[in-house]
């Protein structure tokens, strides 16, 4: 199929539709509003439903209803909107409903800014809502990879009965790049024999979508069942890119659009005779800790670059496990790191550890 030029937010809608998503529940917010706009235009043409909810809270609960009823469904928003959805996300994780949620992250905290940011890393990967639960968090670095991960995301969600979060940033949502729509690797997906459709479809056996286990023993069992699933996801689904890591003096870590800036910095460093590599986590949860085990034996130091005050760096430190120093460089609030600043940071670190 020929490539088409598409804006990130619209490409997400197109990818979701290609993946069989027919229901979108959303609420307008910058910088992700093109997503609901696209879906309101395209879903009715193919017998799907777009609904503009009265609030982010209602949107995520409509998604809970639709996903529990067996449909491929999604919602998308941006940081303050995603905060409002946390209650519903916790219920969706507890009831083990497959769905895709998109966050085009903007500067925070509070109302923050509308420019790109990565300051929702903790919220996305460490919880966000209440209770012990995990989202599969996918962090694309381009519009093409966004399209690929949205399509695969629906399959991952169905395979594990777990919500999948696409963690973009304002840049991914707003920029235009050429994309092609490719089917994700085939997975063995089971029929949704747990979805509510009326007992006429299940020989009178009632299907209940629920996260309430009032007895402590039963609630613990539910958590143990979830943990088993999370272990399975951790075993099967870790994704990352290694860039120039072989014999690198320093290994940088960045995800999403920041990783592209970091690649530029690595090329600039190469011209100056400094060999830097990069580990780019594509799944932020499960995090590619194992990638750091070997790298920590060869590299002298690690540097994490984020559009935040330092959130993913904590996971990099877990991966490096004290073997080598881990440094951090970040811009935040909607400011984007520049390659030259990363180059300076690397020189300073290597000067220090040499």
């Amino acid at each position: 199929m020929a490539k088409v030029l598409m804006k990130g937010n619209e490409a997400i809608g197109a990818a979701a539709i290609k993946a069989g998503c027919r229901y979108f529940f959303g609420y307008p917010i910058t910088p992700s509003s093109e997503m609901p706009e696209y879906m309101s235009r395209e879903l009715p043409k193919i017998g799907g439903v777009f609904l503009q909810a009265e609030s982010e809270i209602a949107a995520i609960n409509m998604l809970y209803g639709a996903a529990g009823a067996g449909a491929r469904a999604m919602t998308g928003s941006s940081s303050p909107g995603i905060s409002l959805k946390q209650e519903g996300i916790s219920y969706i994780a507890g009831a083990e409903l497959p769905c895709v949620i998109v966050n085009m992250v903007r500067g925070g905290p509070g109302l923050g800014s509308i420019q790109p940011s990565q300051s929702d890393y903790f919220q996305s990967t460490k919880g966000g809502g209440h209770g012990d639960y995990r989202l599969v968090v996918l962090a694309p670095d381009s519009v093409q990879e966004t399209v690929d991960l949205v399509m695969e995301g629906f399959d991952i969600a169905d395979q594990y009965r777990n919500p999948v979060l696409i963690l973009g940033d304002g840049m991914i949502g707003q920029m235009m790049e050429p994309v092609e729509f490719r089917d994700p690797p085939k997975r063995n997906l089971l029929p949704k024999d747990w979805a509510t459709t009326g007992t006429k479809d299940s020989n009178g056996k009632r299907r209940i979508i629920n996260s309430l286990y009032i007895e402590a023993e039963a609630c613990e069992q539910m958590n143990l069942r979830l943990q088993k699933k999370y272990d399975e996801i951790t075993k099967n689904e870790v994704k990352y890119e290694s860039f120039n890591t072989e014999n690198a003096e320093i290994i940088l870590t960045a995800y999403g659009t920041t990783s592209r800036i970091t690649k530029n910095a690595i090329k600039m460093l190469e011209k100056e005779g400094i060999k830097a590599g990069m580990i780019r986590p594509i799944t932020l949860w499960p995090f590619p800790y194992a990638a750091y085990e070997k790298a920590a034996d060869t590299a002298k130091a690690f540097l994490t670059i984020e559009m935040s005050m330092g959130q993913m760096v904590e996971d990099v430190r877990i991966g490096v496990n004290g073997k080598k120093p881990v440094y951090f460089y970040g811009r935040c609030g909607g400011m984007v790191p520049e390659p030259a600043a990363i180059v300076e940071e690397v020189k300073e670190i290597l000067g220090g550890v040499k």
Binding site: I57, A58, N61, G68, A69, G198, T199, I209
Partner: protein, 248 residues
């Protein structure tokens, strides 16, 4: 030997957890009977709330979702949009529907969402231990209004049926009570109409059921029925507020 009375097939065989004298049992039974009589048990999806009726999904003999506090109308919206041919209803109390879930119920009505809502108004938070509800009457004591509800401090109780009647998309709205047999019969008629209204695709339907809470009102079950009649009905007048011709 003829069977003169039996449990409705619209309810599951188990024992309910409700307190002695609580009217949830009556309201559940009426809904169960209507599901059975309209022959829709196997095509219905219920949405349970948070509050005393949080376990409603264990009692209605159909598929069900348990919703977060107040969000049942949004959950029901998601289900109904995926399965427009299924019957979808929510069963919610006054804290759930009229306080934390007010936005969800108003907008489900505004969209003319083709769902049926059974709204139990007992003027108190039951499950959490008798705190003040948005429907607690002025002067009524609650564990968070120990001197009685003071309108100057926290305002007046909300009349949900009247409020929702102003919305175009809400096509069937009726307030009933279950404090005596004559009113129970009227309540069942209203619930039947509220389900028929959905099946016929007319829009949003709600039945507000005035109901007792002997435990948290601090009254016997019999005293509670009189208290409802003498105190709630004057503030929450019974009757139909809206109904399309087709379901009359």
């Amino acid at each position: 030997m003829a069977v003169v009375f039996e449990r409705t097939k619209g309810l599951t065989p188990g024992t309910m957890h409700y307190c002695p004298g609580c009217n949830h049992g009556i309201a559940h039974r009426l809904v169960g009977e209507v599901l059975e009589e309209l022959n829709i048990i196997d095509n219905t999806i219920a949405v349970a709330p948070v509050g005393c009726s949080v376990f409603a999904y264990e009692y209605f003999n159909c598929d069900a979702h348990e919703a977060a506090h107040g969000r049942a109308p949004a959950v029901a919206t998601g289900i109904k949009r995926v399965h427009p041919k299924n019957v979808v209803f929510t069963y919610q109390g006054d804290g759930d529907l009229a306080s934390i879930g007010l936005a969800e119920i108003v907008h489900a009505a505004a969209r003319g969402e083709k769902i049926t809502v059974i709204f139990i108004n007992n003027a108190i938070y039951g499950m959490t231990g008798g705190q003040m509800a948005p429907t607690t009457l002025v002067g009524q004591k609650a564990t968070t209004a120990p001197y009685g509800r003071d309108a100057g401090h926290c305002g007046y109780p909300i009349r949900i049926s009247e409020l929702l009647s102003t919305i175009e998309g809400a096509t069937f709205i009726e307030r009933v009570s279950v404090h005596d047999p004559a009113n129970i019969r009227k309540a069942k008629k209203a619930i039947t109409k509220a389900f028929k209204n959905q099946i016929e695709g007319n829009g949003f339907s709600l039945v507000e059921v005035l109901s007792t809470c002997p435990t948290n009102w601090g009254l016997t079950p019999v005293e509670s029925l009189s208290w409802l009649r003498d105190n709630m009905i004057p503030y929450y007048p019974l009757g139909n507020f809206k109904s399309p011709k087709e379901v009359e």
